[in-house]
């Protein structure tokens, strides 16, 4: 393949410059497409915001349920310990009472 001569480069460049010119798109097409794109963008953003809101509410709901369940569990466990402790205390006191009575009788 023989290399380009300077005049060939000039000739081709001129032809390309003459042929490949900026073509203006129709003003109506540009305006219509812009309106359509903005409308679609707004619809898309609205749907995205709604979806985000829904996810947020689900997260809050799930979080609240877990919190309440934890509280109940802890409360129940605490109540059980308290009852056990009270029960143990009562049992000890009862065990103590017959010994005192026996001592009095004597």
């Amino acid at each position: 393949m023989k290399d380009l001569k300077p005049d060939e480069v000039i000739n081709l460049t001129d032809r390309l410059q003459t042929t490949l010119k900026q073509v203006k798109p129709r003003a109506e097409f540009v305006a219509d497409l812009k309106r359509k794109l903005i409308r679609e963008a707004r619809t898309g953003q609205h749907a995205q915001n709604e979806w985000k809101q829904t996810l947020t509410w689900i997260a809050i709901g799930a979080g609240s349920l877990i919190y309440i369940a934890t509280l109940l569990f802890v409360s129940a466990k605490s109540a059980w310990w308290i009852l056990s402790a009270v029960g143990a205390l009562l049992g000890w006191k009862k065990a103590q009472q017959p010994q005192k009575q026996t001592a009095r009788v004597k």
Binding site: L16, L20, V23, P25, L33, L37
Partner: protein, 185 residues
Amino acid sequence: MLFKVKALSEESALVERAKNDAPAFGELYERYVARIYNYVYYRTGNEHDAEDLTARVFMRAMKQLPNYTDRGLPFSAWLYRIAHNLVANWHRDESRRRVVPLEEHITHGLYTDAPEYVAEAREEERKLLDVIRDLPDERQQLLILKFVDQLSNAEIGAIMNRSEGAIKSLYHRTLLNLRDELEKE
């Protein structure tokens, strides 16, 4: 160089806003619609398909914008990539058309309206456009960016993700290609 960095930062800020703000996307659209239209027009050869594909480029850009990451390249590089892929699909799906609406071409640069001159000029342009459309995609893209968008080799390199030297070399090979094909015609 500093101006270029500033321009890219300003554009990056606009792109980020456009992800969540419809009017900001409208601003991006206005910046690039003519360039994308020209690229698609010369790749397809007719106004109807150019409009259809331009619309699809921007629809796709809008849907994929949330996933766009700034890698330091002009935003136009991303748009041209979308346009390139859609045009490639169009060529695959449609039969090659050689509709050349010359009305826009013949009104420019003609200093006489003598019919024989006009007819000859039309024929020359038709030949050249036919040869251009037979070139590989990247060479067509290079010619459109260089002559239609009037971009420098450095700017073209940024869009096509090549060095300035690689673009110069590609341009030289493209001219060789054109010369050889035109000699055959």
